[in-house]
């Protein structure tokens, strides 16, 4: 059990949870507005690629983050347009976006970088040290120094929770996901609110991709997202469609991944069996919990103002 006493395990739990947590936050933003977002995986892939490409091209990792935000938002506009205005099936469209994003990033990756892959001198995001906090024994090692997007996540989490609970925007946002008809009657422009909710969700999910590609590493490979978008979707459900809940659920999946890595060095269980862990934990979490939380009332239903 001394694996659990190793601060490195907990530090990497946090680091590995953050990409999922960004996507999960995007999932909450989208589903609270009533759009089921299976496209998180594609948003992450897009963000991961855009971040690396622009960071390598400009020499500035922050421009890479900006590019991820923009590309995530753009791809999400396509998704939002189809689901909100064309009333296309959310799941089918989401899968389509994933296939499109995987294909496009794979194509661009090969067209731009060829077999050598992304340049090795691509700048990655800075690691920030929290002065004072990093000196606290044990805890300091866990939360004291991480890449910048880890800390920015918490700012975003607090901002979003505040928007949801305390602002008129948050009220409209939740209203269109719970009861679009009533929102419509109250004068809320339902379709527009849904559209921008989904677009901003895509931007946030793409940040998760960026933290994956230029956060801890500084490279991109076509299958690097590896189902994290779907794990994030599970985190949304497990976290009962709340920002904080989604983050805590992401921590659970981050822990499963971190544990799999740690156990590789201290146990003689085969690597490939350990790597199944986060995926199995996701299935178990869904099977064990669902039914006790419920989605926003109009989640997944296209809204037709004419009816």
């Amino acid at each position: 059990m001394n694996v659990l006493a190793n601060s490195e395990l907990w530090a990497s739990t946090l680091a590995l949870a953050i990409p999922i947590a960004y996507a999960a936050l995007g999932g909450v933003m989208s589903e609270r507005a009533g759009v089921v977002n299976v496209a998180l995986e594609g948003m992450m892939a897009t963000g991961a690629f855009a971040a690396v490409a622009v960071s390598a091209w400009s020499g500035n990792a922050w421009l890479g983050v900006l590019a991820a935000l923009l590309c995530g938002a753009l791809l999400s506009m396509l998704f939002a347009w189809a689901t909100v205005y064309l009333r296309a099936d959310h799941i089918v469209t989401g899968l389509a976006i994933n296939i499109l994003a995987t294909g496009a990033t794979g194509f661009l990756f090969n067209a731009l970088y060829g077999p050598l892959g992304t340049p090795s001198n691509t700048p990655s995001l800075p690691r920030w040290v929290l002065p004072g906090i990093d000196q606290i024994p044990f805890l300091g090692k866990i939360v004291g120094h991480h890449e910048a997007l880890v800390y920015l996540f918490f700012a975003l989490l607090i901002a979003l929770a505040w928007i949801f609970r305390r602002t008129a925007t948050g009220l409209r946002w939740r209203a269109v996901g719970e009861n679009p008809k009533a929102a419509d009657a109250a004068g809320v422009p339902v379709l527009r609110v849904k559209f921008w909710a989904v677009v901003s969700a895509g931007a946030v999910a793409a940040l998760g991709g960026a933290s994956l590609s230029i956060g801890s590493l500084n490279s991109f490979s076509p299958h690097m997202v590896a189902g994290r978008g779907f794990i994030a979707l599970a985190a949304v459900i497990f976290g009962a469609w709340a920002p904080l809940g989604a983050f805590l659920a992401s921590l659970l999946f981050g822990f499963a991944t971190a544990l799999a890595f740690q156990l590789q060095s201290v146990s003689n269980i085969a690597k490939n069996l350990l790597l199944m862990l986060p995926y199995l934990v996701t299935v178990l979490a869904l099977a064990g919990l669902v039914g006790r939380t419920s989605p926003p009332a109009a989640d997944g239903q296209p809204y037709d103002p004419g009816r």
Binding site: L95, L100, T102, G103, L233, A270, L273, Y279, A287
Partner: protein, 342 residues
Amino acid sequence: MRGVRLLWPLLAILIAFAVGGLLTWAFGHDPFSAYGALISGSLGSGYAISTTLTDALPLMITGLAVALSFQSGLFNIGASGQYWLGAIVAVWLGYSLKLPTPLHLLVCLLAGALAGALWAALIPGLAKAFRGANEVITTLMMTYVATYLGHYLIEGGPMQAPGYTPQSPHLLPSAILPNLVSGTQLSVGIFLAPLLAALTWFLLSRTRLGFSLRISGYNPRAARYAGVRPVVAILAALGLSGALAGLAGAVQMMGVDHRLFDSFGTSYGYTGIVVALLARNNPFGVLLAALLFGVLSSGANAMQINAGVPFHLVDVIQGVIIFFVAAEGLMRYLRLRSGGNS
């Protein structure tokens, strides 16, 4: 309306090729020579056509798997995982059992189907039926588990062949599907595709079980009134879908690969989805749609070699096709815009 239903997928294909052409052009290649290389590489010779059919076969069967689940109102997006389970079990029995040819083939195929069925029904199916767990997530998660299982088995696990290469032993000759066109990889497995399509069609539209599945997919509440037990419908739909996907893996191993090696991926499930949606979940349409993707797949390498366009262009084309198929409402929207009534 029926005309529109057929027209729209064709239009989606055209738009996708146009987008692909633009992308090719934007990267400094000639789109016409790229598509020329693609066509001649996939249909230009007997060998090319055999390769196209070989590539289309697993897509036909996984496409049927996905279509069956979609028609039942369930999103089995983990066909890849069930495919690999079928592949693993078929290979294992294919090199370890000693049986006369026809029996050995039958045992391997059926065991592959059974493995795929269990992989889909046992965990995602039961979790959905009794706990309401979203099958979109669980079936995909089980795909990753399946690929790691495959890696484990041949990288130091119980199925690794003697030596250092991560691969399983070769199948015994009695477990190999006979070759159809010598000098190519096309096996008699290709005849299974129309047979399975006909069976799927018969099951869905001519049997009581198929009716229960479709009504559950169309309207779960009506299904309950009609006396369909949701648990049974879910397990049957995912189990049958998984069986088809598992069979696809078995056929691929017994007809083409002849052993497990490090080729585990998740792409069959995704392409299966594209195939099913493009075909509007019609079993015979699935055969045609898979043929199109067989052309894209076998022509892609020729396109990369002869025109210098990365074969990932094919994935972009797939993505665009499927986006437009999904955004079918676009048609209605455009018509409203132009003032017509629909």
